[in-house]
Amino acid sequence: MYRYDEFDADLVRERVDEFRDQVRRRIDGALTEAEFKPLRLMNGLYLQLHAYMLRVAIPYGTLNSRQMRQLAMIAERWDRGYGHFTTRQNIQLNWPKLRDVPDILDALAEVEMHAIQTSGNCIRNVTSDPFAGLATDEIEDPRTTAELIRQWSTMHPEFTFLGRKFKIAVTGASHDRAAVRVHDIGIEIVRNEAGDVGYRMLVGGGLGRTPMIGKVLREFLPRQDLLPYLEAALRIYNLYGRRDNKYKARIKILVHELGIDTFREEVEAEFASLDRAIIAEDPAERARIAAYFAPPDFAELPDESKMLDAALAQDPDFATWVDQNTFPHRVPGYLAATISLKPIGGAPGDATAEQMHAMADIAEALSFDELRITHEQNVVLPHIRKDALYQVWRRLVAAGLDAPNRGLVTDIIACPGLDYCSLATARSIPVAQDIAQRFASVERQRQIGPLAIKISGCINACGHHHVGHIGILGLDKAGAESYQITLGGDPTNTAALGERTGPGFGYDQVPDVIERLVDTYIGAREEGETFLQTYRRVGMAPFKEAIYAEAA
């Protein structure tokens, strides 16, 4: 894992001291709210419906046990004993007091964490593949690239006040698990015909009120050109992106309005004119960073584990969890496992301080001290010996973290929605809970198969509803909640935006509607077909009929 150097540590400490002074001046009355608000937002502090909310960055979703324990400590000491993991691989604390926030930031700095650039019109936390460094389809660990971008973008003077926020995701694998096609810039690590490793650059993807799939900006970018090329792309956005209308200020609108070819010409011309040498990465710095992501000291093991086989044979609940929640590891004798933060009836992405401690303890003892937060609001234990998997699972059971539902109908992404968020127009979490209750049977979930439901409580789409196989968008209709349904969304290599079924549904109707959609799929599916495959084959009509027939 990456460790702060002296420069990183000083920078974060100075920023905490600065914010402590800003908070003091706000409380003393020296700063008005209008003056203070942009300052607190630059430090990840929002004012939500019931309280402040602090968003803490988890760079590319990777953290160690010490950091997870510190998050637990902060949640216990200064919040209400839990945290919410987000679709941007971050964590949010929902109840901090203003006066405590500088102390919280100090506590984060102790473990090399911060809340810088988790809000505001700047380059946000760079996200990545939660299975980085272990997936069998990976060309290279994307986190070295993500960390380089983090360092380049942190307090970049030219890009601190962009027209709008800017999100970058990096994947190093052939299967996109980082949703790079729905980011402002998506980066795929690829190999060209000569065998060189470089980047395929995508631009102009995004969700929100105008969802778009990213377009290819450059098929192959040599590795050393990454930072100058990003600088050129950001500069063109900063120069030509709109600032008159915040709803049209994201780079996707600029790319759409100019056309990808014109945008590319502008970026290439800017790139050609730059003094690339002063922006480009220092190969020694890349090597220094890469060393932090070197594989841990794996044991040489046979791929088969008799202990695992025996446990699978004797414990069907364990076998179900293994089948559903583990992921192949490139090193023989190891597996990665997803800890689902979607227990039936729970709030998606929430973990109590006790659960954070449990996850930290397990990671420290049995997963080379590493944890990953996924954009699906779950946690990954990346490196578990197959021999130890049963032990890991029993510890997860004891902590209430054993839901065997990864990728299934109850593994629902949901934003905080109107229960917390001041921007929301409808609730998300209770809708997710009601749907999960409806499909609580593990057997039934597994019969349904892979199905991603994603719920957003407003048009800003933090719950990624546009790329849910079933997307749910909560809106306000004359003061009451109304939910629009979309079908066929997909955040992966075959990215697609969901298509709206038609008029929205009331809060209480949503579980029935979802059940009818699922039943329609079950009735129409061919052998081995997933929901998405069936939808793509049969189209919208039968689903639409199923959910609107009664009203007609």
Partner: protein, 103 residues
């Protein structure tokens, strides 16, 4: 035709902890039941401007009007968002076993 003025109450959040507050006519309160129901558009605009201004800025964060219905003298917001704010917490058991104050 412009919509006629609906009975409203004035709300803000406390600077120090973000708690939802309601204007009683004399002070800010955490209890919506104590909120002053404003029946007159001009009076509402005057109070809103006052509450958003410097006199309150040291302890609160902006202020705005919330439309209410009134039953047995108690105001209750008409829109879902404000109903949830009035409850002072999410609508589900967000933390089933709250930590004790001593923890």
């Amino acid at each position: 035709m412009p919509r006629s003025f609906q009975p409203s109450i004035l709300t803000t959040q406390s600077l120090l902890d973000g708690d939802v507050l309601w204007w009683t006519g004399r002070a800010w309160s955490r209890e919506i039941a104590r909120a002053q129901v404003i029946e007159d558009a001009e009076e509402a605009a005057r109070l809103e401007a006052l509450a958003s201004g410097p006199a309150h800025a040291a302890e609160t964060v902006g202020a705005y009007l919330v439309e209410v219905s009134v039953a047995d003298g108690a105001p209750y917001p008409t829109v879902r968002r404000e109903q949830i704010r009035a409850e002072e917490s999410p609508t589900f058991a967000y933390r089933p076993e709250p930590l004790s104050e001593a923890a």
